[in-house]
């Protein structure tokens, strides 16, 4: 059972940490449906010999072919905008689309954690180790890096090594995949009464 589950869990973990690109695909599909429905309606109306809704199919055809005679600035601008949108779509379709999540090694289940949760747990431990108010601790967690920013209270120096040790120990205990390295930054200027 556990060997089947390994493959199953690997699949689930991969799908949970990457975006399905569903929203974009649905939006594009809806746009295509609207365009197709409109073109189809225009063709049927033209076949019945009734006046067109917006543009008759024959006019669509001739204006598309007569593109080179239209004002160059408008056509060029529209073409470039369309090409850029197309390029962005191609990039989105090929890029991995990682979500801000990490996988944790657990034996019973596949576990995914939002980076936000990791950050707030690290912030709690960092502020405790650095003797800093929790409100003056900022942590941001990205794919491979956790950046801890501390602003110490005036007169109470924060020990960078202690904080680094505490944060690294926490990160090691979580067993995140991919692994996250901590970088601790302690502000030069402390705050009064913080």
């Amino acid at each position: 059972m556990s060997s089947d589950n390994k493959a199953l869990y690997a699949r689930i973990s991969r799908r949970e940490t990457h975006s399905p690109r569903s929203l974009l695909a649905i939006v594009l599909a809806v746009v295509l449906i609207v365009v197709f429905a409109w073109v189809g309606t225009e063709v049927v109306i033209a076949l019945l010999g009734l006046p067109a809704l917006l543009v008759a199919p024959s006019d669509m055809f001739t204006s598309a072919l007569g593109l080179a005679e239209q004002p160059a600035a408008i056509v060029a601008a529209a073409g470039i905008v369309a090409a850029v949108i197309g390029l962005v779509l191609i990039i989105l379709s090929l890029s991995p689309g990682r979500r801000a999540r990490h996988v944790i090694d657990t034996e019973r289940a596949a576990t995914v954690v939002d980076n936000e949760v990791i950050a707030s747990a690290l912030a709690r431990h960092a502020s405790y180790a650095g003797n800093v108010d929790p409100d003056n601790t900022t942590v941001s967690v990205s794919h491979r890096r956790a950046v801890v920013d501390l602003t110490p209270t005036s007169g109470i120096p924060a020990n960078r090594d202690d904080v680094t040790e505490a944060v690294t120990a926490q990160l090691d205990a979580y067993g995140l995949r991919p692994t996250v390295r901590a970088r601790v930054q302690i502000a030069e200027k402390a705050k009064v009464g913080a």
């Binding site: 059972m1 589950n5 199953l8 869990y9 699949r11 689930i12 799908r15 949970e16 399905p20 690109r21 569903s22 695909a25 649905i26 594009l28 599909a29 809806v30 295509l32 197709f36 073109v39 189809g40 063709v43 076949l47 055809f61 072919l65 007569g66 593109l67 080179a68 160059a72 056509v75 060029a76 529209a78 073409g79 470039i80 369309a82 090409a83 850029v84 949108i85 197309g86 390029l87 779509l89 191609i90 379709s93 657990t106 034996e107 019973r108 289940a109 596949a110 576990t111 995914v112 954690v113 939002d114 936000e116 949760v117 990791i118 707030s120 747990a121 912030a123 709690r124 929790p134 979580y174």
Partner: protein
């Protein structure tokens, strides 16, 4: 977790992107590059004649309408139907059955997923580490898989959160006598941000 066909999503996005890129670049080139501009003007006349010729040849006897146009309408309708099916296939994969025991001489046993869902949710709601929890069941590769998503209070260690959920899952295994595959999703979000920070444990 759901059975969304991600390859299809990406394929649709890629094809739309490629189409826009090609059409946009061609339109821009047709007005900006003199060589392309001349070639475009030369071919556009030929294309018009060609298409007019086709429409002439494919006239249906009696109505005087080309069947090419009717075919175009039919293709558009098929494309619309395919796209509607494509949209409706997103996010599917929920299942109402957690376990089915093979039929024995005494009959068969079916355990609905709501049994597992309610048991887990009740157990998790008792913990102050979480501000909320949601349990659902999906079918992944024909196996029912539990999805346990919990929203943590600020500052809760993800390891502790996972350990709590895992202990509840082990208890559920005892109850059902079978191990159901599970996904634990630990998230923060708005509700976590506006609630109280966790106490030191």
């Amino acid at each position: 977790m759901n059975s969304t066909n991600r390859a299809a999503n990406r394929l649709l996005i890629f094809v739309c992107g490629l189409l826009l890129l090609v059409v946009g670049a061609a339109a821009a080139a047709a007005v900006l590059v003199p060589f392309v501009r001349d070639a475009w003007k030369d071919t556009s006349g030929q294309v018009t004649d060609q298409v007019a010729g086709w429409l002439e040849q494919t006239q249906l006897a009696g109505i005087g309408v080309s069947w090419l146009l009717i075919a175009v309408v039919a293709l558009l309708v098929i494309a619309i139907v395919v796209l509607i099916v494509f949209i409706s296939r997103q996010g599917r994969g929920h299942t109402g059955i957690a376990l089915t025991d093979p039929t024995s001489e005494h009959g068969s046993t079916v355990i609905e997923s709501s049994v597992a869902e309610h048991a887990l949710k009740d157990a998790l709601d008792a913990h102050s580490e979480f501000v909320g929890s949601h349990v659902s069941t999906y079918k992944v590769r024909r196996t029912p898989v539990l999805k346990v998503s919990v929203t943590c209070r600020r500052g809760v260690s993800p390891k502790d959160a996972a350990a709590i959920v895992e202990s509840k899952l082990h208890a559920l295994d005892e109850l059902l006598g079978r191990e159901l595959p599970a996904l634990i999703q630990i998230s923060g979000g708005f509700r976590a941000r506006v609630t109280k920070t966790t106490r030191l444990q």
